[in-house]
């Protein structure tokens, strides 16, 4: 696996390079990524960051020797359920986010590694001149209100002169067909904002994209966990400009198998999978809810969420 990764780093073949993207027009791709813009916007590093639900042409996808899956646990687990036999016949090395590695089937562990993003240089929240809270208002993304409350409580540690900026745009629930618009998140979130002691600036997508020189900025990601999306574009772009991402960490004392620089300020640490696989339980759920479109089945979604939270 490491040899394959090193070979990819030296002689890259790029899945999402501009001229080589799946061989399909974007109109044919699932809308999930666009529903969560900008969290799921494309970015690039040498190990092919990609979403499994965009692999509409599996043969094309499997022709790339190394792929880093940015998926959260739900779409990652579903992908393994749907494509296990094909994946077993390919020789691809797959990287999955550390928080989702329990969904990797045992049969694929020999070709799968886990990754996490780390930052050698980080600041503490009380040192930051700007605190930036980033998220999208979608019931499925901001589902766990307790996690949001815990993140807002972090603001009690911000410096007295620090500014608070909030990026929060309304988005559809990505894994839902019938009631795709958020139903309840708006109201309870605004209730929570009322209690903020610091007056925030609400910023637009354009303002977020235009932010620069972020070495004294601390970013708090309001997406509740890595169930919907594990590797966010907003984290990438803000970290590339020097911001400290709350959910990330410094490189751990235990050396990773490999480190890949993603920007001047952050890197991807690649390790072996440590968590026990719960893929078999996921397979059981799939058999119980054999929906033809598992990505949009609310019962299946809820059951997988339960499994993820329990693991």
């Amino acid at each position: 696996m490491l040899e394959q990764i090193n070979e990819q780093l030296k002689n890259p073949s790029y899945l999402n390079s501009n001229s080589n993207y799946l061989g399909l027009t974007r109109e044919k791709w699932p809308r999930i990524g666009s529903d969560l813009y900008p969290l799921t916007a494309d970015y690039f590093h040498s190990l092919n960051p990609f979403y499994s639900y965009n692999a509409v042409n599996f043969d094309f996808f499997a022709s790339f020797p190394v792929v880093t899956l940015r998926d959260g646990a739900f779409s990652l687990g579903t992908f393994f359920c749907q494509s296990l036999s094909k994946l077993m016949n390919s020789e691809q090395t797959i990287l999955v986010h550390e928080d989702c590695e329990q969904f990797v089937p045992d049969q694929l562990k020999s070709r799968t590694l886990s990754y996490k993003m780390t930052q050698p240089r980080r600041i503490e929240i009380h040192e930051a001149k700007t605190i930036l809270m980033v998220g999208v208002i979608s019931d499925q993304v901001l589902e766990d209100i307790q996690i949001i409350k815990e993140k807002i409580d972090l603001l009690s540690r911000m410096g007295p002169k620090a500014k608070l900026k909030i990026y929060l745009q309304t988005r559809k629930n990505p894994f839902e067909l019938l009631y795709a618009e958020p139903q309840h998140t708006n109201s309870f979130f605004y209730e929570m904002i009322k209690d903020l002691k610091v007056k925030p600036d609400f910023i637009t997508s354009e303002q977020l994209a235009g932010m620069g020189f972020l070495k004294e900025t601390y970013v708090i990601n309001l997406t509740s966990d890595n169930f919907i999306n594990a590797d966010s574009f907003t984290d990438f772009i803000l970290a590339s400009k020097g911001a400290t991402i709350h959910e990330w960490s410094e490189p751990s004392a235990e050396s990773p198998l490999l480190t890949v620089p993603i920007s001047l300020f952050h890197r991807m640490d690649i390790c072996e999978i440590k968590k026990k696989s719960i893929f078999n339980e996921l397979v059981f759920l799939r058999k119980r809810f054999p929906s033809t479109t598992p990505l949009f089945d609310p019962y299946f979604y809820a059951q997988v969420k339960y499994l993820f939270n329990r693991s």
Binding site: N16, N18, D42, F44, S46, M211, K241
Partner: protein, 428 residues
């Protein structure tokens, strides 16, 4: 006494250089005595109702000059509303429009401004080559004036003690030399060319370090049909770095983006500014202006706005390397690069930094800018004669083709590109 209405965004631009430009231009106008000013906020968040109120206000105030100071959003709504408001009036304010590099992104909108022929319009360009570029787009070449973007001398002027202090902070001793680049780390800025140049330089001059200030972006080269996602150019540069020897790698320093307050110190501490930009919108070169203001010699491409910086009296300290438009892109002359580098590098210790600074500031200080603007405001303005057929061709091409400057068969630069950008290269 004139009544001058200025339209700009009260919020700083996302484009870092434009933050300073608009602010300094504003100071230039305010330094002109004997005029009254009114300021109108205009940005993407300005509702049409608010804009209409601005127009009504300036009309009731009897403004006799309207200045479009900012680079975005495109002023089409301002100009349209103005035209509607003054439609039945025979006397209208004179229009003064500051042109930025992103003029090339809005051909369609400028094409929609044919009604400007009912107005007296003066266009301000930041560099001599941008003047030539814009003159191609207009039927009346005389309506374009040179107005370089000003530099605030309180922040940018040479000071030996700042240089000594910055070099001490960097840990650079007197025998070592620092090449500096500031700006976006972007394909068209040719960072890969810069790094290759540095690795060659290290062979003959091992005492050099390279300091890079700026953030990577994904602008790539869209006019040449090159698109890249965020992160790809960083990955390319890192792969290039890996091919260099350890001795070269260890002397490349990445500082990331820094605030405007930190840049003057960086220019002071360095020995040579290097930029091989062939960016299409390089209308001026704010970093070059700032570096020269701090007395820093420069090795640059002779492309677009950079061509304006070879001032009389400091020619030997500002070297401009020829750029040619070839079928596959813009080519930087390797012969001239080597020649000018060999001329400049050995004598950097003797650079008259005080003289470089004073000469440059004599050209683009706020005071000088203010004088230029005042002369133009006081001059008689003539009726705008409309946009040229070239602008129409550009507008149509940009609306109908994904890559308007590339021939679809040969995948090479087409005639439209050459007609547009011939103004940006040296003719001899």
């Amino acid at each position: 006494m004139s009544k001058i209405a200025l339209f700009y965004s009260f919020n700083p631009s996302n484009w870092i250089s434009c933050q300073k430009i608009v602010f300094n231009l504003l100071k230039s106008y305010q330094a002109i005595e004997g005029n009254e000013f009114r300021y109108y906020h205009y940005n993407t968040d300005t509702a049409h109702g608010t804009l209409l109120n601005h127009i009504h206000d300036l009309k009731s105030w009897n403004a006799d000059k309207v200045i479009i100071l900012d680079h975005k959003p495109h002023p089409l709504p301002i100009l349209t509303f103005l035209h509607q408001e003054y439609l039945m009036d025979s006397v209208r304010p004179d229009l003064f429009i500051h042109v930025y590099g992103d003029f090339s992104l809005y051909y369609k909108f400028w094409d929609m401004c044919s009604f400007l022929t009912h107005w007296k319009v003066r266009w301000f360009c930041a560099s001599e080559r941008q003047v030539k570029y814009l003159q191609q787009m207009l039927n009346d070449k005389d309506s374009v004036s040179l107005c370089p973007f000003p530099i605030d001398t309180s922040n940018y002027h040479f000071n030996q003690s700042i240089r000594d202090q910055q070099r001490k902070e960097w840990g650079v001793d007197k025998d070592q030399k620092v090449l500096i680049y500031t700006g976006r780390l972007s394909t068209q800025k040719r960072i890969h060319t810069l790094i290759k140049y540095f690795s060659q330089l290290k062979i003959k001059h091992p005492e050099f370090r390279l300091h890079l200030y700026g953030e990577f972006d994904n602008m790539a080269d869209p006019f040449m049909g090159v698109w890249k996602p965020e992160g790809e150019y960083f990955a390319e540069i890192m792969r290039l770095i890996q091919t260099l020897s350890p001795e070269v790698q260890k002397d490349i320093y990445w500082f990331g983006g820094v605030s405007n307050d930190d840049l003057p110190r960086a220019y002071h501490g360095a020995d040579l500014l290097v930029s091989f930009s062939v960016h299409h919108d390089e209308d001026y070169g704010m970093t070059v202006a700032e570096a020269l203001s701090c007395g820093l010699p420069c090795l640059l491409t002779d492309w677009a706005g950079y061509g304006s910086f070879k001032f009389s009296g400091i020619e030997e300290w500002v070297k401009l390397v020829k750029v040619t438009i070839k079928p596959h892109g813009r080519l930087i002359s390797r012969n001239e690069l080597n020649q000018f580098s060999d001329e400049l590098i050995p004598k950097l210790d003797q650079a008259p930094r005080e003289k470089i600074s004073k000469t440059s500031l004599g050209y683009f200080s706020i005071e000088k800018s203010s004088q230029r603007i005042q002369n133009e405001l006081q001059s008689h303005q003539v009726q705008f004669k409309g946009f040229s057929p070239l602008l129409k061709r550009l507008s149509v091409a940009h609306q109908n083709f994904t890559f308007p400057f590339i021939d679809s068969q040969s995948k090479k630069i087409n005639q439209l590109y050459k007609d547009t950008y011939c103004a940006y290269v040296r003719t001899n």
